[in-house]
């Protein structure tokens, strides 16, 4: 019964999506005003069907209805309730179903907030989004159907993948990524609408920008959480391996970030339109490519738990979207004529244009590196590897250049900068940057690119803080406001700017953390008997004993150690080795002691019950926690930038739109 209900709802969703797609596109191209209401109805129907299907699946999981195919695949009576609900997205079919729900919510939210707009643009946008929804609904109804019936009904199931029950991060990381990935459909629809119409005005540009910021935020969170999980759980002390699926999430983030900056030029100078729209399309395309890479089984990756049959279907969809996008860019793109001009070489818009190029180059390089082994195998049958050394070698110079631009861009004005301006803007930050390098050298730190990163971080940090505090100082002086009020008022009136700079500060943190945690690692390995100890940096590690234990799905052995830090404080850690029935190698769990400026990271390499003795790997990673600490900066900055302002009647506002507008008032230094 559950199976039938679920399948019916999915099919209903498919029909609603198809209907909405056709009416939306057709109505948009023919400017049919009445069509918008119909499409809104279709979107609502799609939402109800998708939510219904998801709730049905959750119900089936919770009641352990093993007659449903997906429940038989990942359900288990032994699994705690939380993980039973979470197992909705623990395997392929369930996660695509979950996608469908998220997609429906996004599209519905968009439709609702634009229901009173001049209908043509929303119609085209919604039609496009519904067309994408058709594909996903088709996937759920067909190749990736979780609602199939299983007969005879098994009494119990294997439960979700044990790695997914290990750590709270695994509960949060996938949904965050889905919210980011799926959210890219909305800007895609908006951008396609602009191309179909051959115009991209200010109001529609603002819509495009706002609806990109939301998935961008989720994607950022998902990526950082993923790297945190890799660090805390996988036990090799790293957080980013340039694994194909990691790259798959990074690529759309790169183009999306570039888009957010390019959009500024679009709005202020009315140029770089084709760049901006292309970046928006690219973000969605890379999302689909990324999903293909994760799910097709074609790539060797940490994430390729499940090989699936949806690969070919996905490839066809990817091909279709690529062809449509290329066609639109080539044929309609040139219609997006710039209405303004670029400023001089030393201007903010030029800095952003160069930024676009750097991001495009980084995206291209990561994509090329990820696909290259496949290319070589396709053409010559030879298997090669393109791994971390390649990506680091290419990404570090590009990253440093981007970091440099982060300080240059905000310092330069729109339009043209005189030598006077340049000197005033750059003198102090450059001095700070240089000072940081000198201090680092004096402290004994070495490494050219690392020191350069630190120096640039000082440079960029100074620029960013100055740009944030500048209007604060003016307010305090001109209007006699106290510091806290001045900060709040300035921020409130320039949300995007302020929020953007907060995010920049977070990025600076990440750069510094990565540079320090890669360059100044201290490592040792030692075998101890109980009572013996070894020294690493300012820490003394003493083994106290071995301990065994078991969980429902695994057995483990832990080596208990007592760590004494520089201040004499003691901490008890227990790195572990876990034995799962299905894997040939045991999987280690590291023990981490996080201090403010460094982490002590211990793993258990081997042990001997007879000794007893244990062998350890120990590292000190400086500054690595700062990567996770950057998350609040990303989230708060983006939230602040995206928060809708109170609607104000604007002098000179031509259209009456219901979009909460956050375009700058005339003359604002946004």
């Amino acid at each position: 019964m559950t199976s039938t209900l679920g399948t019916t709802l999915v099919l209903g969703g498919l029909l609603a999506a198809a209907f909405g797609a056709v009416v939306g596109i057709e109505g948009g191209l023919r400017h049919r005003a009445g069509a918008l209401k119909i499409v809104l109805g279709a979107v609502t129907a799609f939402l109800l069907c998708m939510l219904g299907a998801n709730l049905t699946m959750v119900y089936a999981l919770v009641t352990h209805d093993f007659s449903v195919h997906y429940v038989a695949q990942v359900g288990s009576r032994a699994t705690p309730l939380v993980f039973t609900v979470v197992s909705l997205w623990s395997a392929l079919e369930g996660s695509i179903l979950f996608w469908g729900a998220i997609l429906a919510v996004y599209v519905f939210a968009f439709a609702r907030s634009h229901r009173n707009d001049p209908p043509t643009n929303p119609l085209l946008a919604l039609g496009t989004m519904m067309a994408v929804a058709v594909f996903f609904a088709f996937l759920i109804a067909g190749p990736a159907n979780p609602f199939g019936r299983v007969s005879p009904v098994p009494p119990d199931g294997p439960g979700p993948n044990p790695l997914l029950q290990n750590h709270i991060l695994m509960v949060v990381h996938p949904p965050m990524l889905y919210l980011g990935y799926v959210g890219m459909v909305v800007p895609f629809g908006i951008a396609v609408a602009a191309l179909l119409r051959g115009q991209l005005g200010d109001a529609w540009m603002a819509v495009l920008r706002r609806w990109t910021l939301i998935p961008w935020t989720f994607l950022s969170v998902g990526i950082v959480l993923g790297s945190w999980w890799a660090y805390a759980v996988l036990g090799w002390g790293g957080y980013w391996a340039w694994d194909p699926v990691e790259n798959a999430s990074f690529l759309p983030w790169l183009t999306c970030t570039a888009f957010l900056h390019s959009a500024m030029v679009q709005e202020r100078r009315h140029t770089l339109k084709l760049w901006t729209v292309s970046l928006s399309l690219a973000s969605f395309l890379l999302t689909i490519l990324g999903t293909f890479m994760t799910r097709s089984g074609v790539f060797n990756s940490v994430h390729s738990f499940t090989q699936s049959e949806i690969g070919p279907t996905f490839l066809v969809f990817l091909g279709a979207v690529l062809v449509v996008s290329v066609f639109l860019i080539a044929v309609r793109g040139p219609l997006l004529v710039p209405e303004g001009t670029m400023g001089g070489v030393a201007s903010r818009e030029t800095a952003i244009l160069v930024n676009n190029l750097l991001f495009a180059a980084l995206t291209f390089t990561v994509l090329l590196g990820t696909l290259f082994p496949l290319v070589r195998e396709a053409f010559s049958g030879v298997k090669i590897s393109v791994g971390a050394p390649y990506f680091n070698r290419m990404a570090i110079p590009l990253g440093i250049a981007i970091l440099f631009l982060m300080g240059v861009g905000p310092s330069l004005p729109w339009g043209r900068a005189s030598p006077e301006t340049m000197r005033r803007q750059f003198l102090v930050p450059a001095a700070v940057g240089l000072g940081v390098i000198i201090l680092s050298l004096a402290a004994g730190l070495r490494g050219a690119s690392t020191l350069l990163t630190f120096g640039l971080a000082g440079f960029v940090g100074t620029v960013t803080l100055r740009e944030m505090l500048l209007p604060v100082r003016v307010r305090m002086r001109e209007q006699g406001e106290a510091f806290p009020r001045a900060v709040w008022q300035s921020a409130r009136r320039a949300r995007r700017r302020f929020g953007g700079y907060v995010v920049h500060l977070g990025v600076v943190l990440v750069f510094v953390a990565i540079a320090a945690s890669q360059s100044y690692v201290v490592h040792t390995t030692a075998t101890l008997k109980p009572g013996e100890r070894f020294q690493l940096g300012s820490y003394t590690v003493q083994m106290t004993g071995l301990r065994d234990g078991s969980d429902p799905h695994r057995r483990w052995t832990a080596a208990e150690v007592r760590v004494t830090d520089a201040g004499g404080r003691e901490h008890l850690l227990a790195p572990r080795m876990n034995f799962y029935e299905r894997s040939t190698d045991p999987i280690g769990s590291p023990a981490i002691r996080s201090a403010a400026f460094e982490d002590l990271y211990l793993t258990l390499l081997a042990f001997d019950q007879a000794g007893p003795s244990a062998s350890f790997n120990a590292w000190i990673f400086p500054m690595v926690s700062w990567i996770w600490w950057s998350l609040p900066f990303f989230v708060l900055g983006a939230l602040f930038a995206a928060w809708p302002e109170r609607r104000r009647d604007r002098a000179g506002a031509a259209e009456r739109v219901s979009v909460p507008s956050d375009a700058r008032s005339p003359g604002a230094a946004a």
């Binding site: 097709s296 790539f299 690969g311 290329v326 066609f327 860019i329 298997k383 040939t584 001997d608």
Partner: protein, 185 residues
């Protein structure tokens, strides 16, 4: 369509076509498969000692009869599961083929305890520091290697071996070596 549009369109279309071709070709290939370069080459020589007696065993002394070498470890579940297949094959075909087991990344005590539990129907060898395993290109356990009577490494199975695969590989081992060809997928 403008000229600029045409240029953009053509270059993007070309890239798209290459991308789709490359991705489509990826289907059917196993991304986890590790290349086996020593196929058709003489098996690297080794001198290991037997687990039970400590007597040395040299590969060059074993020429004349085809050899089957199985790598395993005490901490490897699937190794224990495949062991009966090897034991049975050793019993049945011990006249025509020589079966040896090599302990991988493990201590002698552990190996002895593990090998003791099913009866050791074929000799187990100790590989100190897994030198010989790395020499053979072992990527993990269990793995089984097939060497013909002339000492040429013919094939390997990088997974727990089942009876049917074992029969196929043994039969192939008796055939003379063909010309060295590309890895057959």
């Amino acid at each position: 369509m403008t000229r600029r549009g045409l240029w953009i369109g053509l270059s993007l279309a070309a890239v798209t076509a290459v991308l789709l071709f490359v991705l489509a070709k990826g289907f059917g290939r196993d991304p986890h498969e590790v290349p086996f370069q020593l196929r058709g080459k003489p098996a690297p020589d080794f001198t290991l000692k037997r687990l039970d007696t400590g007597a040395p065993v040299k590969l060059s002394d074993l020429r004349g009869k085809p050899i089957v070498i199985n790598f395993w470890a005490s901490w490897c579940g699937p190794c224990k599961m495949e062991h009966p297949v090897l034991a049975m094959s050793a019993k049945r075909f011990g006249q025509e083929f020589q079966f040896y087991g090599v302990v991988f990344e493990d201590t002698e005590e552990n190996a002895r305890a593990f090998a003791g539990s099913p009866d050791p129907s074929f000799p187990q060898l100790v590989d100190e520091r897994s030198r010989m395993a790395v020499d053979y290109g072992v990527t993990g356990v269990p793995e089984t290697y097939f060497i013909d009577a002339q000492g040429v490494l013919r094939d390997k199975v990088a997974a727990p071996i089942d009876p049917r695969t074992m029969m196929e590989k043994l039969a192939a081992l008796k055939q003379p070596a063909g010309p060295v060809s590309e890895v057959v997928r």
